[in-house]
Structures are given as structure tokens and as C-alpha cells.
Amino acid sequence: MGSITLEKVSKSFGTTAVIPEIDLEVVDGEFVVFVGPSGCGKSTLLRMIAGLEDLSGGRIVIDGKDMSSEAPAKRGLSMVFQSYALYPHMSVYGNIAFPLKMDGQDKAAIDKKVKDAANILNLTNYLDRRPGQLSGGQRQRVAIGRAIVRQPKAFLFDEPLSNLDAALRGNMRLEISDLHHQLKTTMIYVTHDQVEAMTMADKIVVLNAGRIEQVGSPLDLYRSPRNVFVAGFIGSPRMNLIEGQEAAKQNAVTLGVRPEHVRISKTEGAWKGTVGVTEHLGSDTFIHVQVDGVGKITVRTDGDFSTDFGQQVYLTPEPARLHRFDANGQAIPN
């Protein structure tokens, strides 16, 4: 079991309010991702749930019990830190066994659980090594191993992949998702990488300056962002946000259209522009076009499309995929 409820949770350091007031429901077994720009309070919120940071107000309820002022160890949660926070003087075995040892379990039981965890995480050959003798990905797995042996009610991850290179990050993303399907334990995962958020989450919580901007499934957020912030944050490359006359034509202050929802043609279209930088990814091509009277527009098209710098092109946004926002940045329903 592992349902977590935040009720009017707030946090200030001295006089600066980092988190004004947050209500959030995490259902048992869910994979929830907190995303937001740097400094928006993701880590702080996670640490408050873990019990490493005091609440300034509100309640944290875990499995129906108020845990707001309970010690971290009593909450039954496990955390994986960004720096892994492995114990450098202990072997991998010692690291994974540590929480069990602290729990006072007997040697045989510990041994079995450590071996099981090592098995799941492909660490069996490294049990005698110290953390300093492991690669980044292996350390990451040890940190996860240390978290799973306690069989916690929920896992908390604070940007666990941000120290890894791109390829390894992709692998570990899959492994963590796999682990979630195997264990079916609640996971709360903090990241500022929206690709991680989109690919792993059952539910994404978009944070901005300590406030929740929107909560929903990845496709929800992608299809119907509630405001300009979410629209700009979810999706890669970013949604094109157009202001001024072109937006006013659609009765909006800001008009949003995703790069993949703009058609590009060399002969005809709604907007005329000049090609700037072109990024060829092989599968896709991102073309940055300067459109007269509209501004810079990024277009995503197939990998075979080729243009030259300074060439004239025509763009047509798909009308059904336009997002309209009012003066406060809130979405206007179509």
C-alpha cells in the first residue's frame, strides 16, 4: 500500500515562501513525476514528503495516517538521491544491507534479500566492490537496490538520472519503468527533463515557483495544456508561442502551435518565411523559420525534407491543433 495525500502543504525558508500551498493526491501504485524548471521547489517538496524537511503548514497523510511530524525512517518510504549518497566505506553488499541491518533483521534474511535485490538489478558480480570502484550507472543501481530491499510503501527519486550520459539515461529510464511494473509500488519521481516525465509517468505534476500548474496524464498535458507555462514546458521541441496580430485574429492573446503540427511547403501555405537553422536528426528534421509578421517558428518534419539557409518556404498550422490563451495565460477552450 502506498497512497500519499498532501493537504495544504506549504514551506518557507525564513521569510521566503518556496511552496505557497499545495494539495495533491497520489494513488497507490502510481508513477507520479514532478517536473518544473530549476528552483521551482521539486526537491523541497519531495524532501518534505520524505521527512527530511519540516512542513511550514499543512498535513502529509500516508496510507490514511497523518505522518506530518513523523521521523523519516518511520514513514516507510525510500529515497534515491541525485548524488546517490552511497556509503563510501561499505561494499555494495554493505550498502544494500544497511537498511535491513538497521532494522535489526537476522543475517540469513538480510543475505537473501540483498542477493535478490542484486539479482534484479544485475549487481551480483559487484557485491564486494566499493562504490568508488563502480560506474555511474552501477552506482545508480546500488542506490536503487538500497531503496528496494526495505520494501517501502513508496519510492522517492530526486533526479536520479541527471548525472548519467544520454545513452545510459535512456537505459535506466527503461529499467526504472520496468521495476515499477514488477514491484507495482508507488513512485514519486522528480526531474526537470520533460522527456523522462513524458515517457515514465502515469501522472505528471507540473510545478512552477512552488505552485502546481497542472496535474494529468502525459498525453492530457500534451493535448490540452491548461496554460501557457504547461504548453511551453511539455513537448520537445517547445511549442511555438505567437503573440500579436496573428493571435488576435483567433481571438487570443497568445497562440500556441506545436512544431509537429505545422506543415511546411516550398510552394504554398498560410505564412511565408525564410529558413534559418536546420537540425537534421535523421528521423526528423527541425527547421527554424523566420515568418514575416509572426516571428520565429520551429517546424518538425520528416527526415528527408531538405532546405537551404535563406530559402523561401510556406507554413500552414493545423487549425484543429491550435492552442489559444487569454491575457492571463489561461487556455481558452476551443
Binding site: 538521491f81 548524488s83 566505506h89 532494522d103
Partner: protein
């Protein structure tokens, strides 16, 4: 310093300093070695002659030597025990955030700046004096018989004084080690259910082990040659109870005017210090490799 040429230049430029240091060390050492094989007493000038290992024989069979050796070890060991344990505790206290932290840190470090002669005199006359001392006054105001420190517990008194001088050093080194401990490790241990004591023994102590070995090594080097504190308080007495090797050599040379015997003692001290250093370096090497 990659190319052959720059390395040669570097050697050349360094050589004056190295040669000076080498002479600085070798001249006194060779002279001491030379004197140690002579009959050389300041009261009988003109009778110097080569007598082989006789000085060594006298020094090493002197019962005072073994007493002094024991006292030296007790002094070093006792002081290390107090400063390392006290230093760890103080470092932990000073690492906590509290009001007036800066001033308290300064106060803790202050004893290190007091020269040994002065601090020993302060302890002798203001703190441990059986009539006028602060400790005696405290004892009396509770109705106890004051302790005559230097008569009843002479070696322990010296150890206390020396430990007081070296505690700041140990505290400082251990505090910096403590401050370099990753806060997330402690938090991880907290989440893993480790209490304060477990965190100390499983995380903090192993983390500080390197700093502790450094403290032990450096202090041992200096504590083997404690002298001023003994000279101004007990003069090695009562009897031989506070005579360490350094003081014994001093007594030999300047109280009995036996330069030859004192030189032999000096060479013995050098050999002993090297034996200690050998074991310490091995211990440290093991600890530093990790």
C-alpha cells in the same frame, strides 16, 4: 614540467633550498653521532677520547632510561587518547549550528597559540596549585581535600597540560573532516532507519578515519619531544616520575655535563622515533590508500 629540459631546470632551481635543508639536518646529526662515541664531559675538558659504544652501554643500561621510555609512551599515548576522543566530541559540537559559533570556535582554537612554557606555568600556578589554584579552590568549596597535582599525579598532570595544548589542533583537523561529510549520506542513513549512534559509528567515524590518522601522526612526532612543560613544572620529578627521554637527555647533558652520554641518548631517541614513524607511516599508508 613535462620535458627533460624543464625538469633539469627545475632540479637546478630547487637545489639551493634542498642543499640547505640537507646540511641543516646532516651537520647536527653527524656531530651528535660523533660526540656519542667520545668520552666528552664538560667538567673534564681536554680528556676527550674515543670510547666506542661505552656511552650507549651506559645510557641503555641505566634504569632511568626504561622509566623515561615508559613515561614517554604514557605521555604520548595518554595525550593522543584525550585529544582524539575530545577532538571528535568537540568537532561534533562545533559542527552544530548555534548562536555565537564563530566566537566559540575562536576560543577553542586559542590554546594552540599559547606557548608551551606559558601555558604550563599558567596551569601550574593558577589552576593546579594546591593552595592558590582554581582546582584547589573548587575542591575546598565542596569540602574536599585539594589534590596536590604535581606531587600526587605528576605524569597525569603533564598529560593534562599537553593535551590541553593539542586539543585545538585535533579539533580543527577533525572539524574540517566532519564538514566535508556529504549531508545527503547522513540523510540517506536517516531514511534507512539509522539512529544517531549508528550514524556516528557507520558513517561519521569511517569518514573521519583519515583525519584521525593524520592527527595521530603529527601529534606523535611532536609529543615524543615534549620538554618545556616538564621543565617549568616538575623538573622530571618527583624522582623520575615525569622524566621522558627528551628530559633525560637534557639532564644528562646540562645537569651532569656529560655531552657524550647525552649524544648517545639523542641517537637512541632518533632511532626510537624512526621505529614509531615506521609503524605510523604504514598505518597511515593503509588508511590513505582508500
Amino acid at each position: 614540467m613535462a620535458t627533460l629540459q624543464t625538469r633539469a631546470t627545475a632540479r637546478l632551481m630547487m637545489s639551493p633550498a634542498v642543499i640547505l635543508l640537507f646540511l641543516w639536518m646532516i651537520v647536527p646529526l653527524v656531530m651528535t653521532l660523533y660526540f656519542s662515541f667520545l668520552r666528552y664531559n664538560l667538567l673534564m675538558p681536554g680528556t676527550e677520547e674515543f670510547i666506542g659504544f661505552l656511552n650507549y652501554q651506559y645510557f641503555l643500561t641505566d634504569p632511568a632510561f626504561f622509566t623515561a621510555l615508559g613515561n614517554t609512551l604514557m605521555l604520548v599515548g595518554g595525550t593522543l587518547l584525550i585529544t582524539v576522543i575530545g577532538g571528535i566530541l568537540l568537532a561534533i559540537v562545533l559542527d552544530q549550528p548555534f548562536w555565537g559559533q564563530g566566537i566559540v570556535r575562536l576560543l577553542v582554537i586559542a590554546p594552540f597559540f599559547v606557548m608551551p612554557t606559558v601555558s604550563a606555568l599558567v596551569w601550574k600556578n593558577m589552576l593546579m596549585h594546591p593552595v592558590n589554584g582554581l582546582f584547589a579552590w573548587i575542591a575546598r568549596s565542596f569540602g574536599f581535600q585539594p589534590i596536590d597535582w604535581f606531587a600526587q599525579l605528576p605524569l597525569f598532570s603533564i598529560i593534562l597540560i599537553v593535551a590541553w595544548q593539542w586539543l585545538p589542533f585535533a579539533t580543527l583537523i577533525l572539524l574540517t573532516a566532519l564538514q566535508s561529510l556529504d549531508g545527503e549520506q547522513i540523510e540517506a542513513a536517516e531514511m534507512d532507519g539509522a539512529g544517531a549512534l549508528s550514524r556516528f559509528f557507520y558513517l561519521v567515524l569511517p569518514h573521519m578515519s583519515r583525519a584521525i590518522t593524520v592527527v595521530i601522526l603529527i601529534q606523535t612526532i611532536f609529543l615524543l619531544s615534549v620538554f618545556a612543560e616538564i621543565l617549568v613544572t616538575t623538573n622530571g620529578g618527583p624522582g623520575l616520575q615525569t622524566t621522558n627521554i627528551t628530559y633525560l637527555i637534557y639532564a644528562q647533558a646540562l645537569l651532569q655535563f656529560d655531552v657524550g652520554g647525552a649524544s648517545a641518548g639523542g641517537i637512541v631517541a632518533v632511532i626510537l622515533a624512526n621505529i614509531v614513524a615506521f609503524f605510523l607511516i604504514r598505518l597511515i599508508g593503509k588508511n590513505l590508500e582508500r
